[in-house]
């Protein structure tokens, strides 16, 4: 599974578990408008760490945190891909 598919899949899983309704997941969609709250993001980041072995949030400054779905996907993609 590609990083893109993995991230989108886990977003959908968390939304289902947490009873959130998602708008269509376009790359430009701001994360704040995705319908996911901070608890959902925390769970998502934890799942993605388990799946990829990486937690880019821990090493990044808050100003570098992704703001859109596309940036979130890029955040997990290997740096030189």
């Amino acid at each position: 599974m590609s990083i893109r598919d993995l991230v989108l899949q886990e977003i959908r899983n968390v939304a289902v578990e947490q009873d959130k309704t998602l708008p269509p997941l376009a790359d430009e969609l701001p994360l704040l408008e995705s319908g996911l709250d901070s608890l959902c993001f925390a769970i998502l980041v934890s799942r993605l760490e388990d799946a990829t072995g990486r937690d880019p949030f821990s090493s990044a400054k808050a100003s570098e945190f992704p703001r859109t779905v596309g940036e979130l996907i890029a955040f997990y993609e290997p740096i030189h891909a």
Binding site: E17, Q18, L39, F41, A42, S46, D50
Partner: protein, 451 residues
Amino acid sequence: MPEATTLAGLIAHGGAGAREISTRDHRLSLGDFATRSSFGVSRRRFAGRSVILAVGDMAKAAAALIDLDGLARRVLLCPPGFDTDKIAIAAALVEADALAHDDEAAPPLSLDVMMPVRLPLAPREEDEAPRLATEWVLPTSGTSGPPKLAVHTLQTLVGAITPAPLQQWATFYDIRRYGGLQIFLRALSGQGSLRLASPEEPIESFLDRLGDFAITHISGTPTHWRKALLSGAAGRIRPQYARLSGEIADEGVLRGLAAAYPQARIEHAYASTEAGVVFTVGDGRAGFPADWLERPGAVEMKLVDGALRVRSPRRALRLLGADAPALVDAEGFVDTGDMIDLRDGRCHFMGRRNGVINVGGAKVHPEEVEAALNSLAMVRAARVFAKPSPITGALVAAEVVLNDPSSAGRGLEAEIIAAARRRLPAHMAPARIRFVADLPMTEAGKLKRHG
């Protein structure tokens, strides 16, 4: 409570008869204490001393306690796991001048009197020992930091014990901790015997051994009982009475015990080394009735900032140490640090005040999440802990022991998380679950916490 000021007096009151205290390796006949001692003819050397009691086997500890109560000024009961560093600190706090130890090993102390505790008992001299109100010093069950020592006497310790018909006792506890000591004193106050575990003895071997005695009464922590129920050996005993204390008894473990022992009366007790035995609950439900709060009586309870405070004649007299914190508040109440949630006319224990997980500013008691998980049919035991999160600071994660380990998998993880979400607010439901074969237990028989 029988009028007795010493353990020897308690035994004589109930009649020594054919009563005994036994572990796997030793059998003590209570009648022998009239003429014999675990220190033989040298018992008198402990008169008026402050004694550190540091032995491995519980039968030896029991024998030494019976020998020393009323004779020594003070006895420090070192539980298993109380290491030499802690013993050295405690020795100074209790102003120890005597040591009762194992033949094969003694803590590296240099005191006026140092003697091994030996079984079987050996003849002692006919001495009329002074009947001191010996202070019993108990380390509290906290595992970190310097030892905290609570001072009791036989009178404070037996306050919750009433004379009873023949009871044959066993306990999973160590008798050098408050919960086990209560059972030791119950057994001595009655007319029956007491069966104890040996060091490192697995719970199923102990249950197997108990099957050879007709025990009628037995106690342990919820963690002990979950292990017993999982061991496959729970059916070796048929108690009339099963008691839980030392941790929160949730509906899951209460139901498990009721199913395993349909003939038994099941009670959970609330007690602590500092506050003493506060109450027992026998209606089969977790928690206790809310109208017990602010109820007048010998033991009074109130809530302050959500935490239970207790005023009781069974509490410890004081904590030892120049910089020890005050045991009671201005009105004589002990702050237990146990957080209470009031719902549906019932007080539910949520966990320790200092054990909360902070999920994005919302406080979560691990014990409350564990109770919800333990109530699920597929779960035998759960341990909840904080998983660090860069988003919310922490998330709730859990380790779970299943009744059927072969069912473990991603599907069941999702099922348990979904079930937890139906019972708990979103931030309290575990984000991740790991399936494990067993959960670690502390020396005190409680679930061992992370960190």
